[in-house]
């Protein structure tokens, strides 16, 4: 009787614990993709890309993991268990750039290669940080998106966030640097919607009223681009004024369908997860990270590191009618 009960109890506990594979193949390279929290569409998409990379490389065992909520403490517990498993590499999108440093330093001391992607970790906590894109690439992309649909040139206007938004100002500055590559395209005005839906909407209306020949509105902000597309739709100028810039597929799907926006751009989470695993694999293979170094990202090309050992993956990814349905449910 006594033994039976103890056994029962032990079995009950065991059934909870024994899930998941016990023995892992030791000759594979084990790369952990750690995300801010499980169950977020953007990161599930990144995991899809990571799996693609693992399949392409062949000898990689991918561990996709993360805490249940977006806390640094949760990620530290995950990191500690990965250190304990002696994984070969950790690729992390950090919930906190500073708080993870002690844990990731420990991982590096024990021979684990650490890179951050998407949201970075302070340099002492990782070997490489992978940015989805870079300011010059984004600046070029937003004007290219408009120019691609204006073969004969035309007037375009910029609807930005606030006049003090560092990101947007940098991108517009970078855009102005490459204007000579797009002859015939003229930026007639730059207005600020303050990242408020109603103000952005009114500013877009104002642009169309003052510039009757306006052919495109470039909104390098996810709030502005949706508001501008709505304003164009409401003014009955779909097909006449093309709205483009940076937006989220889930919010822009309707406007792509209606034609108010022919295309827009944002980072592609699948490519990001893919590149992160490729970079981690390259480091495990013996590649050296450091300022000026070049690392391989498989089909995404090569990553050149700057003075902070950071690099930009690629141009922002273009979303249009051909692929919006694949992404609108993801993020």
């Amino acid at each position: 009787m006594k033994i039976t009960r103890r056994l029962l109890l032990a079995t009950a506990v065991a059934s909870g614990l024994a899930m998941g594979g016990a023995a892992q193949a030791q000759d594979n390279i084990r790369i952990a993709l750690v995300v801010k929290a499980l169950g977020i569409g953007f990161f599930e998409a990144a995991a899809k890309g990571a799996e693609e990379a693992a399949a392409e490389l062949g000898n990689v065992e991918l561990i996709y993991t993360g805490p249940t909520d977006t806390t640094a403490e949760g990620q530290i517990e995950v990191i500690n268990s990965l250190i304990a498993q002696r994984v070969d590499a950790i690729a992390i999108s950090a919930n906190d750039p500073d708080a993870l440093v002690p844990a990731l330093k420990k991982a590096q001391q024990r021979g684990i290669k650490v890179i951050s992607w998407d949201s970075g970790v302070a340099p002492e906590g990782r070997a490489v940080h992978l940015n989805p894109s870079s300011n010059p690439l984004i600046g070029n992309m937003i004007i290219k998106l408009a120019a691609d649909h204006l073969p004969d040139g035309g007037q375009v206007a910029v609807l930005s966030a606030t006049s003090t938004s560092t990101n947007q100002n940098t991108w517009i500055e970078e855009m102005n640097k490459v204007m000579s590559d797009y002859p015939g395209i003229e930026v007639v005005s730059t207005v600020y919607g303050d990242d408020l839906a109603d103000k952005s909407y009114r500013e877009a209306e104002g642009l169309m009223a003052t510039h009757p020949d306006l052919a495109a509105i470039i909104a390098p902000t996810s709030v502005g681009i949706v508001a501008a597309a709505q304003a164009v739709t409401d003014a009955g100028k779909v097909g006449q004024v093309n709205v483009t810039g940076l937006g989220l597929p889930s919010e822009m799907a309707g406007h792509i369908e209606s034609g108010a926006s022919k295309s827009f751009a944002i980072w592609n989470p699948i490519d990001l997860g893919y590149s992160a695993v490729m970079l981690a694999h390259d480091l495990v293979d013996g590649a050296e990270a450091g300022p000026g170094a070049t690392l391989s990202m498989g089909r995404m090309g090569e990553l050149t590191l700057d003075d902070n050992s950071e690099g930009a993956m690629a141009d922002p990814f273009i979303y249009d009618a051909s692929n919006i349905d694949d992404f609108k449910d993801i993020f």
Binding site: M19, T68, I76, D96, P102
Partner: protein, 332 residues
């Protein structure tokens, strides 16, 4: 008045009790079982350094759980503990910006915990407000202040000597936090089980009116218990801040529920009046082992929460189920 409600047995009754001896013995069996399963499930489990790293999963929470255990035995509860961590950590970060060194930072952390505990204690013990309502309020209040001060910013750049509390090793794999965990366990064990103060806590939890009439200064004892819980939250804040090396207002978010779970799993009656510190120590170790074991198998965190929930419900339900079987037996 509500003595009728206190029928949930805190110890295994009847036959089960004879088998396992006590709640603590049951927890020991569970802990050994989980330890054994972990050694079988993962080849990485039985490594001194890995086990040492794993203790961080529970040491800070357990330090608060000891103080919380006394509070719950007395029939009160403090749900603001995780928010006290956030506020104490923010206060330390603020002091750091003003150029404070490690000793001052420690004092600021402990002092903030003490003040928060005193605030809770005054509202509950002096004004007679229900502690669950008061501390739900201060749960929002304390963390709210941290958010106002910090917003989306962070304090970092703590001195190297400060890192010892959360990252330092006393000897080989024995961390400073482990030593602190054992020391606080001993202190609270002596306090609850070997002093008149501890007997007063049990007395209040079983029957506050009777305790009052037998000469126990009930409000004073309760005030002191809130003070202790506040200070222990300050201690945990120092350890956690030191371990993270930075402060954000979201620090320790959601810990209050894990701490209460630890206390209840440890056999402390949630309605007050019974339970022991060794039980809480065992519960802390069990939760640490489960978290680490699941982590090694890369089981998603949500499955861990489900398991802890089931474990909690079953350990509460088991004595009752077996108790009623035993009761039927006697009737026949």
């Amino acid at each position: 008045m509500n003595t009728q409600a206190r029928v949930i047995p805190h110890r295994a009754n009847g036959r089960l009790r004879r088998i396992f001896g006590s709640w603590e013995a049951l927890l020991v069996v569970i802990a050994i079982a989980i330890f054994f399963i972990n050694t079988q499930a993962s080849p990485y489990f039985l490594d001194p350094w890995n086990l040492s790293d794993a203790t961080f999963n529970f040491t800070e929470k357990a330090m608060i759980a000891f103080a919380m255990a006394l509070l719950i035995v007395s029939g009160e509860i403090d749900l603001s503990v995780a928010s006290i961590i956030a506020l104490a950590s923010t206060a330390m970060g603020f002091a750091l910006q003003l150029g404070a060194g490690t000793p001052v930072l420690v004092l600021v952390g402990l002092g903030t915990g003490l003040l928060c505990g005193a605030f809770n204690g005054l509202l509950v013990a002096r004004l007679g407000l229900p502690s669950i309502v008061v501390t739900i309020g201060t749960l929002s209040l304390f963390r709210g202040i941290a958010y106002i001060v910090l917003g989306d910013q962070a304090y970092s750049g703590y001195p190297t000597s400060f890192a010892y509390f959360g990252q330092g090793y006393v000897w080989w794999v024995i961390t400073f936090e482990m030593v602190l965990f054992v020391a606080t366990a001993v202190v609270f064990y002596v306090l609850l089980h070997r002093t008149g103060f501890g007997r007063a806590v049990y007395g209040i939890g079983n029957n506050p009116t009777a305790a009052l009439f037998s000469g126990i200064r009930v409000p004073r004892v309760k005030f002191l218990l809130f003070l202790m819980t506040g200070v222990m939250s300050g201690v945990a804040a120092i350890c956690l801040t030191s371990r993270l090396g930075s402060t954000r207002p979201s620090i320790g978010f959601g810990w209050e529920l894990e701490i209460v779970t630890m206390v209840v799993l440890g056999g402390i009656n949630i309605l007050g009046g019974s339970g022991t510190i060794p039980g809480v120590v065992l519960a802390a170790i069990i939760m640490g082992l489960v978290t680490f074991g699941f982590g090694l198998l890369n089981v998603p965190g949500i499955v861990m929460s489900i398991f802890i929930g089931l474990l909690l419900i079953s350990v509460i339900a088991l004595p009752r189920v077996f108790g009623s079987f035993a009761g039927l037996h006697r009737k026949r």
